[in-house]
Symmetry: C4
Subunit: 199 residues, 4 copies
C-alpha cells in the first residue's frame, strides 16, 4: 500500500481546514480602521489556530517521511486525527467571537487534547507497522514531548474556568514546544544518510 494518496488526501484536508477558518473573518460593514477593532480577537484566534495546524502539518509531513508503508489501521488513525483537526475552525470561531470566555476556551483545549491523542494513536500505529528498530522509533526516542503535551492541554482545559488567558498561555506553550520537533527526525535522517546509526 503506497502512502502517496494518504499524504495527498491529508494535505488537501489540512489545506481546507487552515483556509476555511479565514471565512470567519467577516468584512465589517463600516469602512473606518476602527471597524477592524472588534475583529482583533477573531484574527488572533485565527493566527493561533493557523500556527497549530501548521505544526500538525509539519509533524505529519516529517512522520510520514519516515513511514515506508501504510496499513488499514494507519489510514483510519489518520482519518481520526483529521476529524478532530476539522473541528478546530468551529472552536476557533466560538472562542474568537466571545473574547476568550471560559467555555469556548475550555472547548478549544478539549479539541487540542483530542487531536494530540489522535496524533499519538497515529504515531503508535505507524511505529507498530514500522517496528521498534525503525528510523522513526530512533528519531522519536523516549518521546517526552508527546507525553507532556496532553498534560499541558488538560491543565489548559481546567485553567479556562479560572482564567482563560492562562489557559491560552498553556496551550501556546504546548504549541511552542512542538515548533522544533522536526529537528529530531531531520537529525536522525541526516545520521542515517551519512551511514551512521540514528542515536
Amino acid at each position: 500500500m503506497g502512502k502517496t494518496r494518504m499524504e495527498a488526501f491529508s494535505d488537501a484536508v489540512f489545506a481546507i481546514i487552515i483556509t476555511i477558518m479565514v471565512l470567519e473573518l467577516r468584512p465589517p460593514h463600516q469602512t473606518g480602521l476602527a471597524a477592524l477593532r472588534p475583529l482583533l480577537p477573531v484574527f488572533l484566534s485565527y493566527a493561533l489556530s493557523f500556527v497549530y495546524l501548521g505544526i500538525y502539518w509539519n509533524n505529519h509531513h516529517h512522520m510520514l517521511h519516515c513511514t515506508r508503508r501504510v496499513t488499514g489501521a494507519i489510514l483510519w488513525a489518520n482519518l481520526y486525527l483529521l476529524f478532530w483537526l476539522s473541528l478546530v475552525p468551529f472552536v476557533t470561531a466560538w472562542m474568537g467571537e466571545n473574547h476568550l470566555a471560559s467555555a469556548p476556551t475550555a472547548l478549544y483545549g478539549v479539541v487540542l487534547l483530542m487531536a494530540a491523542i489522535a496524533y499519538w494513536i497515529l504515531q503508535r500505529q505507524i511505529l507498530r507497522s514500522e517496528g521498534p528498530r525503525s528510523l522513526l522509533a530512533a528519531a522519536l526516542g523516549p518521546d517526552l514531548k508527546g507525553k507532556i503535551s496532553p498534560l499541558l492541554y488538560l491543565l489548559a482545559i481546567a485553567a479556562a474556568f479560572l482564567h482563560p488567558g492562562v489557559s491560552i498561555l498553556l496551550s501556546l506553550s504546548g504549541a511552542l514546544m512542538w515548533l522544533v520537533p522536526d529537528r529530531r527526525i531531520e537529525r536522525a535522517l541526516a545520521g542515517a544518510e551519512s551511514g551512521g546509526r540514528a542515536e
Copy 2:
C-alpha cells in the same frame, strides 16, 4: 491513460466534501457549555457522515490501488459517484438540524443508496476494463457486501417514515459492514506479492 490525476481529483473532492460539512456547525452566540446542547445532533450527523465518507475514501483508495488503467467510462462513473457524495453535506445538515425527522432521514438514506449504486457502477466499469481474471476480480470475490448494502439502505429509507432511529441504525450497520472491506483486497495483494494466487 494514467490514474494519477483521477486519484488526485477524487482526493481533493473527498477532502472538500468531508471538510465543508463542518461549516454547518455554527458557533453559538451564547458562551455557556449549555449553548452546545442544541448542536449535539448536528455534531453527531457530522460524525456519522465523516465515517461514511471515510469509508468511501478508503474503499476508493483500495479499489484504485488494484486498477491499472483508466478509461473514459471509469472517469465518468467516478464523477457520478462524487456527485452523489457531494450531496452528503446537504442531507447531513437537513437531518442534523431537524433532530432525525422522517423526511430528512429518508433523504439521507436515498443519497447513501444512490452513492452505493454509483460505487457499484464504478466497480463494474473497472472490472470490465481489468478483466475477470484480474487482481480486483479475485479480491472482490462474490461481493456479498456490495449486494447487501443497497438492500440495507432501501430498508433504512422505508424505516425513516416509521421510526427514524431504526433507519439510522440500519444505515449505520451498512457502514459498519464496510469498515473492514480493505482486508479482502489487502489479503489478495499480499497473496499476489508472495507469488501465490489470491483466493
Copy 3:
C-alpha cells in the same frame, strides 16, 4: 518545466469549484418532503453545472495528457480558464434561485462562452508549444466541435431573452456534443502506441 504542479493546482481548483456549488443547496427549515420542491431548480442547476465542470475537467485531463511541456503562456492561459470556470457557481446560483429568468440564464451562457473561448486559447497555446505535427494536433484534427460550441453559446445567450428554456437546451446540446471528445484523443493515443500514425 514540468506539468505536474499545473495539473495538481487545476485539479484542486476544479474540485473546489465543483463542490462549493453544493453550498447553495441550503437545507430547508421545514422537515416535510414538500419543503424540497423549491430546491428543485437549484438542484437541477447544480447537476447541469456539475456535468459542465466534469466535461471541462475530463477534456483538460485528456489535453494535458498529450502535453509534454508547460510554458509561462500555458500557465496563464490555464489560470484564465480557471477564472471563468470559477464564476460558474455564482451564475448557477443566480439562475437556480430565479427559476430560469432571462438575465441569469443569459449570464450563464456568457460564462459558458467565455470559458469555451478560454479553453480554445489554452488549446492554441499548447498546440503552439507542441507543434503542428504533435500528437495533440493529430488528435484534434479540424476541431469542428471547438468551432461550433461558441456559436451554440452565442445562440443560447440570445435565446435567453426570448425563451430561457430554449437557451438551456442550446447550452445542453453544447455540453452533450462534448461528452465524447476524449474518444478522439484516446483513439489517437491508441494509434500512436500501436506504432501507427494517428489519423
Copy 4:
C-alpha cells in the same frame, strides 16, 4: 526532505484561497441585468486578487522548480507566506463591498506588502539552503523587482488615504511588474540545460 508535499500543500491552499473569494460574489435577489451593477466593484476586486494570487502561484511554482531540497525553515517560511495570502479574500471582500474606501484599500495594500515580505523571506531561506552559486541565485540576479515592489506597496498604503484610485494603480503596477518574472528563471533554466552558465 522532498519538496513534493510542500508543493502539493501549497497548491491546495492557493487553489482554495483563489476560489473561496468567489463566494463573496452573492447572487442578487432581483433578476434584471441592472441587479448586477452593485456587484461590479466586488467582481473587479475579485479579478484583481485572482491575478495577484495567480502571479504568486506562478512565481512560487518557478522558484520551487529551482529548489532541490526543503528544510524546516523553508517549510515555516512557506506557511508564513500562505498565512498572509489567506487574508487576501478578507481584504478583497472589504474593499469590494466599500467601493474603494480609504481604510479597506490601505489594508489591501498592507496585506500585499506583508505577502511580498513573506515571499522575500521564503526566497532568502531557499537561497541560504541552495547556496550563492545555485541556479536560483543566478536566475534571480540582483533581484531589482523584489526590492522595488515593497516600496510600491508602501506608497500604495499611503496613497489610499489621499486617493484610493491611485493606490490601486500603484498596487496594479506592482503586479504588472511581476507578470513576467518567470522569464528570468526560464532563461536561466534553458541556459543551464544547453550546457551554458546562467548569466
